[in-house]
Amino acid sequence: MAEVEIGAVSKAFGKTQAVVDLSLTIGDGEFVALLGPTGAGKTTTLRLVAGLEAPDSGSVRIDGRDVTSDAPADRDVAFVFQQYSLYPHLTVFENMAFALRAPTRRLPEAEIRAKVEQVARLLHIEAKLHSKATQLSGGQMQRVAIGRALVRSPSIYLMDEPLSSLDAKLRGEMRLELKRIQIDLGATILYVTHDQTEAMTMASRIGVMEAGRLMQIGTPREIYENPVNAYVAARLGQPMINLLPATLFAGVPPGVKTIGARTEHLAIARSGGDVSATVTRVEHLGDQSHVHLDLGGQPVVTLADPEARLDVGDVVSLRLNRPLFFDAAGGRVAA
């Protein structure tokens, strides 16, 4: 494993500026997730590190070595794509051993066998090693695709939404497994996703991207608790942070145009709060209820205990508890 340094990289496709002056260092053994909506430049960044795209400017260094003009094969990276592309005529074992058997490597067969079996155990597919790739379920195929990358011990694993083709349940299981494997192997991973849960639960650090720019990078907790602007604040948290006009509340610091209130910044009571709001809808999501409120014409969504018997039409009292403040441009204002 190794440190990967992306230095002031930019990339345009025609008139579209896909990545703008992006700098990021992924430490040895670190799991960095790039989070953002479709078109934010996440996948392009990954492809620039892999060497599948050449940057217009800037550099990529792996383990201290400038690889900016190296071919993908010379960079010692392993890529896992969203769509698992396995060789259908080969067994799981042969699929996983494929890269190790490349003529340039010349690994002894016993070593290949040991490595494949070790990774198969990590991924819980050891019983499937002699099945044809086409006889597997979608989840198993994606494990094989990840396994094919893991056997190689490259400098860095580059993963582009590897879990997004799995169903919700399997995705949940794989999140925990992948994180566990990453810790066990001490693997360096750059991981692209538009799913905030994947980023929050797996990453050592999250890089939030918008329109080709890296808006903020930090631990999941830093990004969640201390976002630099309203855009980043809205990327994490379920239900989404409420962005409310400052005029709805008294005692707001000067220069503040928007108040960012997450569910933990809002206390709901029957009375005694700062402002009143009307319940417009209650969603029982099982473990929690999402309460939709009308606060002076502004929609507010917050969590409530499923046993707090709130009904549509109830008038409740809201109190702010150390919310986030943003200025007119969306930038953070100190409380």
Binding site: T38, K179, M200, T201, L285, G286, D287
Partner: protein, 365 residues
């Protein structure tokens, strides 16, 4: 608007029995989700209501009128598909107006209704844009516009949000439900995503292998699942299942798990010794030094407000939802307790829930 009634509906494709005896009623203005994994028969059921498939047996009535054998075009319904099949060479206005034009409605009336549909969906500013320049969410809004412009008796939707990314899907869930609240149209909605169903539906019908296993409000489905399948399918992370062997007396208030008694809602039936399963939702697991189940922390997943902690125990890996502020270390030894009044019991063999006081909690929600 309309009430939809489905009675003893069956559909076979050759040897394959896709829908087995489905019966349910969607009242006027209600939002029903047909929920289940792929192949469970939910889309086939929807297509029979639409008239795109004919049932092998059973009846479908809309507002009391038997429409089982009516053509799709004679049913006064609007169908919204997962893939927004828009006409790429037409702009937004012509796409939305297309169904009206087909019905031979005059240009002035057509235009008035297109403008109204666009206003409801908040896409008025896009009316003269080409559909190929729109984002996924806006395309799906146009597809919805084409459905609502017809003012049908009911809407049938087949995974309309399936092709959108997470963030857009969450926004559209709120929009669709708000739209439903404004229009009040009877809606049947197919999805495999339990969160979509929980967030939008008045009623959820959970389907498995062609059978409707349970039909109830989201809250009842979550709190009082009638089978292992429903309990496992609803909720994220899923309910924890602790397998054990035991017998049960009617009136019992505890079960024997290992060498400890675990309090449960009062049993309403008796069972001879058999393979049973205790079901515990992750939010009903509490950490406690004197906890009745011991285990070791395997990992924790930070979610902002809460975290999901996975614990390896003699009963398998159990998940607990706890406040994000609680510190955990991998490998730490912990004890777990369960909140008694929320626990479910299942018969392992049949998968059915064992009747307890839990099921007397009323039909609220």
């Amino acid at each position: 608007m309309a009430q939809i009634r489905v009675e003893a509906l069956n559909k076979s494709f050759g040897e394959f029995h896709a829908v087995k005896g489905a019966s349910f009623t969607v009242d006027d203005g209600q939002f029903l989700c047909l929920l289940g994994p792929s192949g469970c028969g939910k889309t086939t059921t929807l297509r029979m209501i639409a008239g795109l498939e004919l049932p092998t047996s059973g009846t479908i009535s809309v507002d009391g009128e038997d429409v089982t054998m009516n053509r799709a075009s004679a049913r006064d319904i609007a169908f919204v598909f997962q893939l927004f099949a828009l006409y790429p060479h037409m702009n937004v206005r012509r796409n939305i107006g297309f169904p009206l034009k087909c019905e031979g409605i005059g240009a002035a009336e057509c235009d008035r209704r297109v403008v109204e549909a666009a206003r409801i969906l908040r896409i008025s500013h896009l009316l003269d844009r080409s559909v190929s320049t729109l984002t996924g969410g806006d395309r799906q809004r146009v597809a919805l516009g084409r459905a609502i412009v017809r003012k049908p008796k009911c809407f049938l939707m087949d995974e309309p949000l399936g092709a959108l990314d997470t963030e857009m899907r969450e926004a559209m869930i709120q929009e669709l439900r708000a739209l439903h609240d404004r229009l009040g149209a009877t809606t049947v909605y197919v999805t495999h995503d339990q969160l979509e169903a929980m967030a939008m539906a008045d009623l959820i019908a959970v389907m498995n292998n062609g059978v409707v296993e349970q039909i109830a409000s989201p809250r009842d489905i979550y709190d009082r699942p009638v089978s292992l399948f429903v309990a496992d399918f609803i909720g994220s992370p899923a309910m924890n299942f602790l397998p054990f062997r035991g017998s049960l007396q009617a009136g019992a208030q505890a079960i024997r798990l290992g060498d400890r008694d675990v309090a449960i809602p009062t049993a309403r039936e008796a069972l001879v010794e058999s393979d049973l399963v205790l079901g515990v939702r992750p939010e009903h697991v509490r950490f406690s030094d004197s906890g009745m189940v011991r285990g070791e922390i395997y990992g924790s997943e930070y979610l902002g407000t809460t975290q999901i902690v996975t614990v390896t125990t003699p009963y398998g890996a159990l998940k607990a939802r706890s406040p994000a502020s609680m510190p955990f270390r991998i490998g730490m030894n912990v004890g777990l307790d369960f909140r008694p009044d929320t626990l479910s019991l299942f018969d392992q063999g049949s998968g059915r829930a064992i009747r307890t006081a839990l099921h007397e909690g009323g039909k609220h929600g």
